[in-house]
């Protein structure tokens, strides 16, 4: 796995978070961000960011971490 690819994913998710901090509290924002990732990110990208969040996750902003955690939870169709 390339660090560069992961770095880009981290940057992207933090950027998405920074642009979605206005949806109520952190949990609500995290849900909006997770929904965005579900809708627009490829399977492999989601998996990489989930793996990163579970193994390290230090470079993720607080809301990003919450969002990725939600992303990793099973979703009702």
């Amino acid at each position: 796995m390339s660090d560069q690819q992961l770095q880009h994913l981290i940057k992207m998710v933090n950027q998405i978070s920074a642009n979605n901090l206005h949806h109520g509290d952190a949990e609500q924002s995290a849900e909006v961000i997770a929904t965005h990732l579900r809708k627009f990110w490829a399977r492999s990208m989601k998996q990489k960011i989930i793996d990163y969040a579970e193994s390290d996750g230090l470079e993720l902003s607080t809301v990003s971490r919450l969002a990725v955690k939600r992303l990793s939870e099973p979703q009702e169709a």
Binding site: Q4, Q5, M12, Q15, H22, R38, A42, R43, S44, M45
Partner: protein
Amino acid sequence: MLDYYDPSKTDPGTGGLNPDLDYGTPPSPSDAQVSVSIDGTTIRVPEGTSVLRAAALAGINIPKLCASDNLEAFGSCRLCAVEIEGQRGYPASCTTPVAEGMAVTTQNAKLARLRRNIMELYISDHPLDCLTCPANGNCELQDVAGTVGLRKVRYGFQGENHLDAETDDSNPYFSFDPSKCIVCSRCVRACEEVQGTFALTIEGRGFESKVAAGQSEPFMDSECVSCGACVQACPTSTLMEKSVIDAGQPEHSVVTTCAYCGVGCSFKAEMKGDQLVRMVPYKGGDANHGHSCVKGRFAFGYATHKDRIKEPMIREATNAPWEVVSWDEAIAFAANKLKDTQAKYGRESIGGITSSRCTNEETYLVQKLIRAAFGNNNTDTCARVCHSPTGYGLKTTIGESAGTQTFDSVIKADTIVVIGANPTDAHPVFASQMRRRLREGATLIVIDPRRIDLLSTPHGGKGLHLPLRPGTNVAMVNALAHVVVTEGLEDTAFIESRCEPRQYNEWREFIAGERNSPEAMEAVTGVSAQLVREAARAYAEAGNGAIYYGLGVTEHSQGSTMVMGIANLAMATGNIGREGVGVNPLRGQNNVQGSCDMGSFPHELPGYQHVGDPAVRARFEDVWGVTIDDEPGLRIPNMFDAAIAGSFKAMYVQGEDIAQSDPNTQHVEVALSALDCLIVQDIFLNETAKFAHVLLPGATFLEKNGTFTNAERRINRVRKVMAPVAGLEDWEVTMALSNALGYPMDYRHPSEIMDEIARLTPTFTGVSYEKLDRLGSIQWPCNEAHPDGTPTMHTLDFPIGKGRFAVTEYVASEEKTNRKFPLLLTTGRILSQYNVGAQTRRTENSQWHHEDVLEIHPSDAELRGVHEGDWLGVSSRVGQTVLRARISERMLPGVVYTTFHHPGSGANVITTDSSDWATNCPEYKVTAVQVEKVTQPSAWQRHFEQFDQRQHQLLTPAAIHAEASDATALK
């Protein structure tokens, strides 16, 4: 030749008029009808119609020379004189409006003598070289001489005349021979009224009167933009296409759609056999109404350029010579490579890019190939790097990923807001329409770091320029909306009836906050609060406020936020859902709207239907006979990252030059070099093809059938006028590849592909080739509710029911200036070149723009000791390139500007991979740079030069021979 009005010959989509006939004066917009009798024929026409036009509508052609139905009546030639019962003399029918009960005589002995006398005077100062004249066979002067029965010229030809006037051949596409000029002023008026440039004038008086370009300069040195309107207007051979002078008059013509920008002009391709003699803008085209620009009108020579790729080619490695093979071999080679890659690296290891230059049918087929034959959703298109934020932002707020209006709508706008767009250069034909409205007095507001030419519209009305700092669009749109909300300029009735109250209330609370006031944002945008307030009022109180925007909105880290901000502004002021208003993205490429509509994005099937929706997938699966992946695929930048990481190994790219057009070139080059198999289908060896293993010859728009969809959602037919150089249209190549991969496709004509699109796309259910031929063009949605299409959207409701305001918090770009990179670079386009320039660089258009330059403000230049023409090293955080300096005050100090039309300029070597948060659309418009004087090209440019030379060598048969041993070794 004489034209007779024959209703059976009327072309479709033209309101019963024949676009091939000239009705003499423009139509009257009046709803009131009056009845007149012309030569005993009674006809009812709208009040205000000229007698000349009324006669033409009745099938009676009154001779004329200075009149044309795209120009206001002028009344100078007097040939159209008529007799009107109860009136004295012989009034000119072009300048005389009809009146109820009027009785007109167009032909009698007196009128015949009058007309003959006028023609006698004209011809006494006109060369009698009709047989060798390039206009022979298409000359109005000759036709009228025949019509009036001119038999002799009593004045002789020895008197003072203009026959020795010198020809101006400076323009590469047309010549100006004043010895043939009859000073009818049609060219001058076309330049003013149709194009809006005012480059031509009548100089001198009386016998000395002559047509002059600029300050009596050669055309090329004048302000002339070479749109061709004057050439088309000329009734003689004074202004004449050089291609006609060379080839003679064309013998047949086919109506088709231009393949340059998103305006989508209709043209008649005028042919001699399979040779294209000239492109003439088609009056029946609803996007352009018979107008054109220098690209569509003249820059078609690339289609027959010697650089065209004419045979399929393959190679094992990118440093190996190309091997010319048959189509079958090339397709089998490509299919095997793709299968092997998937076998080795998995289903998701391959993908493709659809082309915004190809037809809807071709784009649809490529994404279908990827989803059905590749078995994944790794499909994307160049809209990723231009208008993907439009898709996201408009869908979120107003429910549909497209502009809301027709181009014609601008004629009813009272305030025109142009944000991050440069229509006179990038969408010139629409810009002419905008200028027409500005001359009628509409207010113009330009929000752009650069002072664009639209602000210098001759005889334009009030113009406000808000020269904001690059990257601060959202701060600006929030400040504008703040003024609307806090000064009571909202359209509360619209908001209450058309918008979701919860989202509106949230937004209102946010936008009314002091931090969004123009005063608070002044420090961010650099634009005075007073000016922002003035602009907000001018838009909100206009009556009809229309917003047009371009890539200066989308290509930012907050591109999607800005699009939503624009939609908020339009909803808050009720400027949506009728003519004269709306939110209008100006699309860059000819079919970028279509490529988005056709499901090119990795998360959406055709018609913007999400792949995660089981009901949507089920419908496609039923027709396609495969299971569709329920997860979105990789977008272009994600593909590059995955390629470098080693998980993405093969790619099929149709008609898209990602190596030149995408940001951070060096990153793209590393990614492309990492692929095991790159299949490029293109008309030239473009920059991307230099990294390819399979090169499939593409077909130009002249060589295929299909449809393009322009920026106003207008689906227009593309019609084949010559055979594809390599025998196959692009859709046939995709089909062959699919069949070779084991997924059968069996279309006999693009119309069958469109039928499939119509079955699967709710906004296209009513579209068919039969209907397109019948109506001329169709604006989607076209379905049961809108059988003839939808010119204006959202008139009663939004596709999502009620409009949704979105909170648009300004988040500054991470791409910031500092001590090391103190300037902001922004990029754009110029009129004569198109996108990466692959087409226009191979035409005479390069005479206007043969290199990209760096525009720099005098104060920034002075600080660095830079003079006009100096070589400048431009460095960003990711790379360096060298461009020549042009000192310019179009931008504020601190901002520099360049274009990206030439690959060797390396404009994208310096742009970074910073991108829009929602869509990954690159932030081309903001790059922090330093600029300094240098003496040689950058390291990248030197490498580019070598690589370019090497790749061209590998293309020539000689190289193949010389490198044979090498090639064998590589195999």
